[in-house]
């Protein structure tokens, strides 16, 4: 019983992290139709930035968010303006290849700068909460809180603000949005910036619970893809549910199948994903944009 309860707590915290991690990917895909294969590498950029502040300036990792979010926003904004804007209306192969190229470039650039040695963050927030037989690492509980806060902020931004309305309009119909006076290019650049900023923030959380290594990006990209496709593009609540589902698969495998890492959960996830896509190509919960072939 306590094992089950512990598994539930673990999957909630893992799911919270996945939900924040997937948010940027989902937003960019849903609004621009670009599948960003450099997503995992953007997460790692956030992690390494946090590591630099943590290691060399002695900042608490959570405090590093104040720097990570604006820096990654600027980076994302520039990447969109320089690279993604040129390929937005072209065949999906083009955006896949370009972002794949970007992924290789960033991963190997990170290896060059930070070497292949796995890095880890030091935090004052070690230790555990104990409730009955269940233990909760303090860091992970804060991870979950921050992830939920950021998702709420994004949700409010999309639903309540003028910018959010423009973003949703541009996602639904580019031409019509342009006609009613939305500067679609600017909206896309800002959206990409927001997506990358969220992704960088997820990188800070990632660094707190995982070793940071230059080539840890691909599994993250794959998870983001699996969750987004399950959930529907740009659908925040769906992404949260999808993240919990994926985390559940991974935690259950890790808890009840001994001697196997969470990476085999990735295998199970893909089997489930392909099944879902065949049965329900629009995702489980529907989304921001119709899931057509672009």
């Amino acid at each position: 019983m306590s094992e089950l309860l512990q598994a539930l707590v673990n999957l909630t915290m893992l799911g919270g992290f996945y939900a924040l991690m997937v948010m940027g990917f989902s937003l960019i895909w849903g609004v621009m139709g670009v599948i960003n294969l450099a997503h995992g590498e953007f997460v790692l950029m956030g992690s390494y930035l946090t590591w630099v502040l943590n290691r060399h300036l002695g900042w608490e990792p959570f405090a590093a968010l104040i720097v990570v979010v604006p820096v990654m926003f600027t980076f994302g904004y520039l990447v969109q303006r320089v690279l993604i804007n040129r390929i937005i209306d072209r065949h999906h192969l083009v955006s896949l290849l370009v972002t794949y190229g970007l992924a290789i470039l960033i991963a190997n650039g990170l290896k060059l700068v930070f070497t292949g040695t796995p890095r880890s963050l030091t935090t004052a927030l070690g230790g555990f909460w104990r409730i009955g037989a269940v233990t909760i690492p303090v860091v992970k509980s804060y991870d979950l809180v921050i992830a939920l806060l950021m998702m709420t902020a994004l949700s409010l931004l999309l639903r309540r603000s003028r910018l959010g309305r423009s973003v949703r309009a541009a996602a639904q119909n580019r031409q019509a949005a342009r006609m009613v006076g939305v500067d679609v290019r600017a909206v896309f650049a800002v959206t990409f910036g927001i997506g990358v900023a969220l992704t960088g923030a997820a990188g800070t959380l990632f660094g707190l619970t995982h070793p940071i290594a230059p080539f840890a990006g691909l599994p993250l990209t794959l998870r983001a893809f699996a969750i987004t496709t399950m959930a529907g593009l740009g659908n925040i609540r769906g992404a949260l549910l999808g993240s919990l589902a994926l985390a559940a698969v991974e935690v259950i495998i890790a808890t009840y199948v001994p001697g196997i890492g969470t990476n085999l959960g990735l295998v199970a996830t893909f089997v489930v994903l392909v099944g879902i896509l065949i049965v329900r190509p629009q995702g489980l919960f529907g989304g921001l944009a119709p899931m057509e072939e672009r």
Partner: protein
Amino acid sequence: MTVPNETRSILAGRTTGLLVLIAGLAVLPLTAAIGDGWIDNSKLFSMTQMLMLITLASNWNFVSGLLGYVDFGHAAFFGLGAYSTGILMTKAGWPFFPTLPVGVIIAAVAAVIVGRATMHLKGPYFSIAMLGTFAALREIARVARPLTGGGPGLSLPPFLNRPLFYYLALVQAVLIVALYRWLRRTQFGTMMLGIREDEPGAEMRGINTMVVKLGAFAVAAASTGLVGCMWAYQNTFIDPDIVFLDSRTIEMALASVVGGLGTIVGPVVGSALLYWMRDVVWASFLQWHLIIEGAILIGVVLMMPNGVMGLRGSPFASHVRRLLPHRATR
């Protein structure tokens, strides 16, 4: 009417050139015997790798360029071939050559099984599902320790006969490129292009698209599996990370895209260019190698979407042609 004649003579000229090229490649290792020839073991090794890349890129291009199903996990079949040879040679004590058909069959059957599920998916969904298949196979190879040796890998009996591998790779590359060139002109090739351009349309015309897709996928996977078999024996050591190397699929994609996606000659030209650049330009930038590769991929996709083959007929190409010696009259 002189046109047919002329066409024939141009074709004849091209074929002669091609035969001369293949013959040149065939006698290349023999020149090692002539004093200090240009070719040595490391050059021969590098040429072998290039020929293997020509085959791999052609396979990738066959599925991704001609059929339009962009396969981001094609190296999975390479891994299946490599592990077939590795496991049969170390665990079952087989000699090398009998393992080849086994590897080829396993890769082809796997392609049919995987394709049966993933080739229902359209566009990017197929690409990522294959990327996931690739990542999943790597984890399975890591976990299935009794069979695959897990993380520490398998050591095959060493066999350092560089010319043998060179000739195997050369024969395969020539045969595969010829096969694809021929298939491209058959009805099967036309059906593939039809599927790429308009799949529902092809289906409405009565083409059993799933059979065509699986057929093409299985042929490419079988050939990729064969390269994997040979590579494993040549490398004498396999583990999940070097067999299921992320950059292997990237290399295939890069060679095809640089050369010209969806053309038969493109992957050949692209592979040769990549190896030339690697030997000449990047020898002094070892650390930067993959960074430059990523940058080239982005640059080529943005600036010359049809690759080197797309330059034919461009103003730039005709300008270059004017500078070269040419016949004044036709």
